[in-house]
Amino acid sequence: MAQELIRMEHISKSFPGVKALSDVSFQLNAGEVHALVGENGAGKSTLMKVLTGVYAKDEGRIFLHGKEVDIRGVRDSQRLGIVMIHQELNLMNHLTVAQNIFIGREERRALFFLNDAALNRRARELFERLRVDIDPTVPVGSLTVAKQQMVEIAKALSYNSEVLIMDEPTAALTDNEIEDLFRVIRMLRAEGKGIIHISHRLEELKQISDRITVMRDGGYVATVDTAQAQTNQIISMMVGREIFITRSERAAPQNAPVALEVKNLNAGRMVRDVSFKVHKGEILGIAGLVGAGRTETARAIFGADPLESGEIFVHGQRLNIRTPKDAVRAGIAYLSEDRKRYGLMLGLSVQTNTSIAAMKRFLRAGFFLSDAREEQNMRKMIDELSIKTPSTHQLTRFLSGGNQQKVVLAKWLTRNCDVLIFDEPTRGIDVGAKNEIYKLLDRLAAEGKAIIMISSELPEIIRVSNRVVVMCEGRITGEVKGDEIDQTTIMRYATMREAQAIGGE
């Protein structure tokens, strides 16, 4: 019997109007990687915030090494050796690696002067232990996200933590970086630490975890041994029903005219000699690893970032797109992966957000905005896209992620855009809402829109695309269509670096 580190019993937590956790229990052993999965809003993060003292629990008990503990704040949990590494890393970019690790508990000389040399030495020891190559004296901002994560892990170890909670640690990493992270996690496991791993990526949980606990709607569903768990079984526990990822039955359009064509686009290091076409009624997937230049390509087409060279044709006509305004006028829409930053004004109503790109449509006498016409359009969109909002004047920040995404879509449909570029349209939204988005994409294509979908999730690309172009290091390395679309082919292209791509031709 493994030694128990943490036991949480019958934890409940309410926020005004919402029961976030109800009677949840969780247990973690020493030397174990325990995965915590569930849709967005299932309560994973809330449970972990209770464990780390960010939130106070309403009911329930927490035990560490079999003894009940009272955790009232992050300082308490840190003292007990429980550390959480958040998805958005909490590092100060301008300070050095070592300064970040020991912030707030720096060694001093003569009570007053900081001893940076000692900090650097101790940081170096931590990295040697982790066997990662990071210079403690460089500013954290100059490191890749993966290395910044290692800095966070080193920081956690410097507190002599026994329990490490990682929230979606692989979301922003490349495959190689994930391997490295997993190596470190396995090492920590071998040292007897307990690791709680929150993730959406079921495939990677199979590689790294020992047990999986599933949560749904703030409640505990089940805990299973990873070795015996089937992926479909876990998914069905997460959503409460069986779902299977199947390819869309919508056929590729025959002889449809080209809606958008780009030739030899160049923009910085991330967009190099990119050419492709999208037809009316077609969904073109753009696959590739994070950092392959997909978002940069989309932004360049949309005029959000300057283009160095290349040609853009919309419906056969060559256009000079220099600003997003030009692109919108040409009927191109871009739905960013970071909708809160690039897609929405969260403090304004859903109706305002929906009409903001097409205000001319709602002018009376060519000058005055008509609230009635805006509302009529908003209601139509709410109906067509099943946007869940209590009123047309609801502030956008109160909507769920999936519904916010639909508001962005409503904005572009209101503008009558017929070339739609979706950049990671399902990021951060739950499985049920994802399915709705897929159906929506299918329907839009059936209505004759030309759709480009950028996604890092291969099953998603495979499910919706008629054709897929694959990028690696700013270049298009391959194209697959119809029945040839499968994970292995795409991954082969996605990892085809420049030397191979040229050698292969």
Binding site: A304, L348, S386
Partner: protein
């Protein structure tokens, strides 16, 4: 399709948000009632009209600043725009014998150019607006002190006095009518025109606005130009009251203007605010000043009281969760 029933309209955010939006109005009504009950002099028609007239020009200036703050920026240069307007208008008319109409158009244009410079430095130059407008404020001040050697220019025709002290129908001060007309026009612009909507969009999320095809640079610059022109209009009214151009006429107004804009419910981070909030903010501040004068409280106490009000409002705004 959607099983969600749509409520007919309005308040996203519920009663709390409604209350917060109009809290200033409720407080203002309460303040006026207290003043009326406790001081017989306050509630005379004469005094009330006086308060309204004093509030009118500063609220026109504050409406200009409102647009800049709405887009998430700040304009420190209004004090100099006011001084410039006053001294050059008087100079053009008195020293150069220019007809008042032409001088008026000229100073308004000059103020628009000042706004344009502020806007270009901020939007194209990507300077923090605080610094850009602080620089413009000082440079401008230097220029008009050189022009006037710091001395006031008096001797404006007495007909000009109507702008500052005239009455409509022998009862309503002309400045009050002017303020209301400007407020209604600007309110209609913010609520019913595309460009008005764009101010809120840019203040709410500039990058998302740009990616929605809004010309964010134009909107950003327009805010500063509006601020310049409206400051100038207010300055002309202040000049008309004394019938002389004065370089220092605007020097103490910046603090009051900022207080008024914030008091009116405008978010300092941009994207939220109402024109009529600004009007009420101006009235609020003026009632307090007036009441303190009537109670013969030392004028210096006004600075202390206004400071406390500004801190209180910003504290409440910064610490109230609106989501």
């Amino acid at each position: 399709m959607s099983e969600y029933k749509l409520k007919s309209k309005r308040y996203g955010g519920g009663f709390r948000a409604f209350f917060f939006d109009w809290m200033i109005l409720i407080l203002f009504v309460a303040l006026v009632i207290i003043c009326c009950v406790s001081n017989a002099q306050f509630r005379t028609m004469n005094n009330i009209m006086n308060v309204l007239r004093q509030a009118s020009f500063i609220s026109i200036i504050a409406m200009g600043e409102f647009f800049v703050i709405l887009t998430g920026q700040m304009d420190m240069s209004i004090t100099s725009t006011i001084g410039m307007t006053s001294i050059f208008f008087a100079g053009f008319v008195v020293n150069n014998g220019m007809p008042m109409g032409i001088a008026l158009v000229l100073v308004l244009l000059m103020s628009a150019v000042v706004g344009l410079i502020n806007g270009v430095l901020t939007v194209y130059g990507k300077m923090p607006s605080f610094i850009a407008t602080l620089v413009v404020m000082n440079v401008l001040k230097g220029l008009y002190y050189i022009y006037s050697r710091g001395l006031p220019i008096s001797g404006l025709p007495s007909s000009f006095n109507y702008l500052g002290a005239g009455y409509v129908f022998n009862i309503v001060p002309f400045p009050v009518v002017m303020m209301l007309v400007i407020a209604v026009i600007l309110w209609a612009m913010t609520k019913y025109t595309a460009v008005g909507r764009a101010f809120y969009a840019v203040g709410g999320n500039a990058e998302a606005s740009r990616l929605s095809g809004i010309n964010t640079r134009f909107v950003g610059i327009l805010a500063f130009v509006l601020c310049g022109v409206l400051s100038s209009v207010g300055a002309l009214g202040l000049t008309a009251r004394s019938l002389s151009g004065n370089v220092s006429i605007g020097e103490e107004l910046l603090f009051d203007v900022m207080t008024i804009v914030v008091l009116g419910g405008t978010s300092l981070t941009g994207g939220r605010g109402k024109i009529f909030g600004v009007v009420i903010g101006a009235l609020f501040l003026q009632v307090i000043s007036n009441y303190m004068v009537l109670m013969s409280i030392n004028t210096y106490w006004q600075w202390v009281v206004k400071g406390i009000i500004l801190v209180a409002v910003v504290l409440i705004d910064s610490n109230t969760k609106k989501d």
